[in-house]
């Protein structure tokens, strides 16, 4: 009761307090960038590291803060991450090294939607081939690391987090109990979020943008010897009543069970520092629902299932100057999705099709990494991944369906993928330079290979998979330069991808769309090549110890082999932030914006998106009371209630207007 009372008191205090201070607030970058990797710290256990903009942000909001990630939005929930302007098919997205594949044919459930901030300690974002550690990739990798206390002196921590946001009436409650001693640790946490529809700038309600979800997770670690530990994790995530305003359907259920057991052995020998082996399993059920929409031409059920069984075994070694990492991993995934349409005439039979024909993917791969120093402040890194991937259509109904398009289709196909990269970095005095060169391949995704009449509301076409697609291949070149002066740091980054056999849908005029109102049918095909260039510059200036000013500009361009624009490419965009931190108080004001999107792809359903700029404010303060501490953060997003949408908003749905938020975190040791 005492705690609750305090929380309430400080909520009220916090509002008054923080709103008074907004005028002086400021900012700092929440992420650390090393070479082509970026780590976003999420863990709330480390309250000294007050880098979170909003501790109870969704994982999506955290990712959006990253300089290298943009989020594609189909609503207010389950955004899809994009790195280097490439979406999930071209990325390797894992949870603690575990492969998880969404069960929705319309990408309404990216891997990132099945975890929450309560589970995670940090998210490692890697660009291009640096992201191939856990799987083959073209654009990069995101590995979400689960929070584990580790074996420590005896501690018992209870944490409670509460959040409220005005715009969508979002309520968040989270709690965690962490216990550890030198032999055992447990982390148990849960989080619950419920949101109503949000309002775009100008008080325009965005219908079907509500959601409700909860996530529970438990981790147990037991020490098995001097240097060994057995760790088990279970995550259960369930979202219900999720609206997707940009899509013609919503989701009544998205449910995941993610479980793993891993054995870690440290200091095995002088050479082998760590050996980490994990077995894992996850199962996802995703049920789309259109019963809440008033005007659908035809009602349909679209459930999907994705089950994955996998393992990895990672070995970290050190030999003379070489830091080595080997990762042998494999998984078996089953993806099945179906569609049943109910004719308006109730006497007619329902119409049934398999949209994913029970595709069974078996992947086995090995990754190796060698990092070594070549003289003072110069380092080389080589990485390589080789994978064998077999895809088999497990359902005869599905096989026969696809044979309508591909009469000679074999039910099974094996592919080999290769990923190679080298990186050179050096620092001379205050200058840091990095070059990297990479080559990567990826197999087509289940939808790209085997999708059957998947409706894409972005370009308004039905998509048909193509089992004969070649692997997509990318040659990439990256360079970054960072220069620091006394109080001033400046950096520039460029990455260029030459992607051959670029997989994208091409209209087949001979095919007739199935979806009522669609414009036609596109078959996944390979363009001869496509180019993507991403450039950015960033700077930070620290005029006084408490003040930091940061800024970033980025420009991206992507063209296909005929010089047409690729879809979902960011226009010129910028961010600036002013950050103030003194003792236990910090505050930030930031500005995000983009120019008009001129290089849009009308072929893929894009139109010109207007320029925008929005301002956000937030401030936080930490209170200590003996063994308790209380962290209070409040802020305003989109201060001027600007009505805007960005290039990454599916069908131009507007983003959230002005939003007040308050988060309170309390910890008792």
């Amino acid at each position: 009761m005492y705690v609750m009372k305090n929380i309430i008191v400080f909520t009220i205090l916090g509002f008054i307090f923080s709103s008074n201070l907004f005028s002086q607030s400021i900012a700092q970058d929440s992420t650390s960038i090393i070479g082509l990797s970026e780590v976003i710290v999420i863990s709330k256990s480390n309250l000294k590291n007050q880098k979170q903009v909003k501790p109870l942000s969704s994982i999506d909001e955290y990712l959006e803060k990253s300089n290298n990630v943009t989020m594609i939005k189909r609503g207010n929930y389950a955004w899809e991450a994009s790195i280097n302007n490439m979406l999930s098919e071209r990325l390797s997205i894992t949870i603690d090294g575990m492969q998880i594949f969404g069960a929705c044919t319309d990408k309404m459930d990216p891997t990132t939607s099945y975890v929450d901030v309560s589970n995670l300690s940090e998210v490692a974002i890697t660009s291009g081939q640096q992201g191939a550690e856990n799987g083959s990739t073209i654009g990069g990798g995101i590995d979400m690391k689960l929070q584990k206390s580790g074996f420590d002196k005896e501690t018992f921590i209870v944490g409670v987090d509460l959040g409220y946001e005005t715009n969508s009436n979002l309520r968040v409650a989270s709690s965690e109990i962490n216990f550890s001693n030198s032999k055992i640790f447990t982390n148990v946490d849960g989080i619950y979020r419920k949101s109503d529809n949000y309002f775009a700038g100008g008080d325009e309600e965005v219908l079907y943008s509500q959601f409700e979800k909860y996530n529970l997770s438990g981790v147990v670690g037991v020490k098995t010897g001097k240097n060994g530990a057995l760790i088990g994790t279970v995550i259960y995530d369930k979202a219900t009543n999720v609206g997707y305003p940009a899509l013609p359907m919503d989701v009544s259920l998205a449910e995941a069970l993610i479980a793993s057991v891993n054995y870690v052995q440290d200091s095995i020998s002088k050479t082998i520092q760590k050996w980490d082996t994990k077995l894992y399993y996850n199962t996802i059920t995703h049920i789309m629902d259109d019963t809440k929409r008033p005007d659908v031409p035809i009602h349909m059920d679209m459930p999907g299932w994705s089950d994955t069984y996998g393992f990895y075994s990672k070995m970290y070694a050190q030999k003379t100057k070489h830091s080595l990492l080997f990762n042998l991993n494999g998984y078996y995934n089953r993806s099945l999705a179906e569609m049943t349409m109910y004719p308006n005439d109730p006497n007619e039979n329902s119409m049934f099709m398999l949209t994913w024909p029970d595709v069974r993917t078996l992947y086995t791969g090995i990754y190796g990494e060698d990092r070594f120093s070549i003289g003072s402040n110069k380092e080389l890194k080589f990485t390589a991944r080789f994978g064998v991937q077999n895809a088999t259509i497990g359902d005869e109904f599905g096989l026969n369906s696809l044979r309508i398009f591909y009469p000679d289709l074999e039910e099974s196909k094996t592919r080999f993928t290769y990923n190679l990269a080298s990186q050179y970095d050096m620092s001379i005095k205050n200058t840091k330079l990095l070059f990297s060169l990479g080559y990567g391949e990826r197999a087509p995704s289940v939808s790209e290979g085997y999708g059957f009449f998947l409706y894409n509301s972005f370009d308004n076409y039905d998509y048909i998979g193509n089992p004969y697609l070649k692997n997509e291949k990318a040659l990439e070149f990256n360079t970054t330069i960072n220069q620091s002066f006394n109080k001033f740091k400046v950096g520039a980054e460029a990455s260029y991808f030459y992607i051959s056999d670029y997989i994208i849908g091409i209209t087949d005029p001979d095919l007739d769309q199935m979806t009522i109102g669609a414009d036609g049918v596109r078959v996944y095909s390979a363009l001869d090549h496509a180019n993507i260039l991403n450039t950015s510059i960033n700077a930070s200036y620290k005029p006084f110890t408490s003040w930091t000013l940061t800024g970033m500009l980025s420009y991206n361009i992507g063209k296909d082999n005929k010089g047409n624009n690729l879809p979902l490419l960011s226009p010129f965009s910028y961010r600036a932030a002013l950050y103030f931190k003194k003792n236990l108080f910090d505050a930030e004001v930031n500005l995000n914006g983009a120019s008009k999107q001129i290089n849009f792809s009308s072929y893929y359903g894009e139109n010109e998106t207007e320029a925008y700029a929005i301002v956000n404010l937030n401030a936080s303060y930490k209170f200590y009371f003996g063994n308790q501490n209380l962290y209070l953060k409040a802020g305003i997003e989109n201060v001027f209630d600007t009505y805007y949408s960005t290039y990454s908003d599916w069908n131009n749905i507007p983003r959230m207007g002005c939003n007040f938020f308050v988060n309170i975190s309390s910890k008792i040791k």
Binding site: P343, E348, M351, S401, I404, F405, P407, Q513, M514
Partner: protein
């Protein structure tokens, strides 16, 4: 080895016994209609005609019929009869027959005869079908007549129409009887009405096929093949792609040897259906 000494004679005896039994079986009547269901029996004083089909019913459209002729006195099935059959519709004003095949002994079988009848119309309260079997056994002629029940189908599986050449045609759906989501081998029958009693097969025309789903935006499917005449079966064969289960309208156009369209129109945005069509639902 000892065990074998005892086992061997037992095995031998068992083998002999079972062989003997097998020999006896040869004389038992073979049930050649095991997979079929009896529709009905039509009898005269001497014989019973047993009519079978997969469903056990007759219905409007194409009916594959297997029969067996039983001698009423001996109970044996007649193996060497020659059949003629004649279905007849008794309408209030007139009578007419319908397209049919010959009724012939099924090759390799002892007791069964097979053929098909295309009932182009269903019975109603005042009008109905009967079926006459005229058969000859060892030079002796017999006749058996019986009323048969031919109810209407829910979906249109047969169409009677006048071509632009002023000939009345009958087109009927034959196969697949159990369509699937796949590229199906599709078979239709095409007949012309020479007179009330004669419906010969029309040869060497072409039936253009455009399957559509009216309940789902009237979309079509890819890789269908128009039906062409198969001289071996006297029917029309083509390919029918069905991308999902449900109700499909098979829009047709009939083209003669000169490439003239005798009936049917192309389906376009403005014309959602051909005037010549058949329907399936699964």
């Amino acid at each position: 080895m000892k065990l074998l000494k005892y086992l061997l004679p037992i095995l031998l005896v068992a083998t002999i016994i079972s062989c003997t039994k097998d020999d006896d079986d040869v004389f038992l009547p073979v049930n050649e209609v095991e997979d079929l269901t009896l529709i009905q029996e039509i009898s005269n004083d001497t014989h019973t005609v047993e009519m079978y089909s997969i469903s056990g019913n007759l219905s409007q459209g194409y009916n594959d019929i297997t029969i067996r002729l039983k001698d009423k006195t001996t109970g044996d099935f007649v193996e060497d009869a020659t059949f003629m059959w004649n279905p007849m519709m008794h309408m209030t004003q007139m009578m007419h027959s319908c397209p049919k095949s010959d009724l012939v002994k099924v090759s390799g079988m002892e007791t069964i005869y097979n053929g098909y009848i295309v009932f182009q119309m269903a019975e109603n309260a005042d009008e109905g079908w009967d079926l006459t079997f005229d058969y000859t056994i060892d030079g002796e002629d017999f006749t058996a007549v019986g009323d048969i029940s031919v109810p209407a189908t829910d979906r249109k599986v047969v169409s009677v129409f006048m071509g632009t050449d002023d000939v009345r045609y009958i087109i009927t759906y034959v196969e697949p009887q159990s369509p699937e989501v796949m590229v199906n081998d599709v078979t239709f029958g095409l007949y012309k009405m020479e007179n009330m009693m004669s419906f010969p097969v029309v040869e060497d025309f072409k039936i253009m096929l455009d399957p559509r789903m009216p309940s789902m935006g009237n979309h079509t499917s890819p890789n269908n093949e128009d039906l062409v005449y198969n001289a071996a079966s006297n029917m029309y064969d083509g390919k029918l792609s069905l991308t999902m289960t449900g109700y499909w309208k098979l829009n047709l156009m009939l083209e003669n040897q000169d490439g003239e369209i005798l009936k049917g129109e192309e389906v376009t945005e403005d014309n959602e259906s051909s005037s010549l069509y058949l329907e399936i639902e699964f």
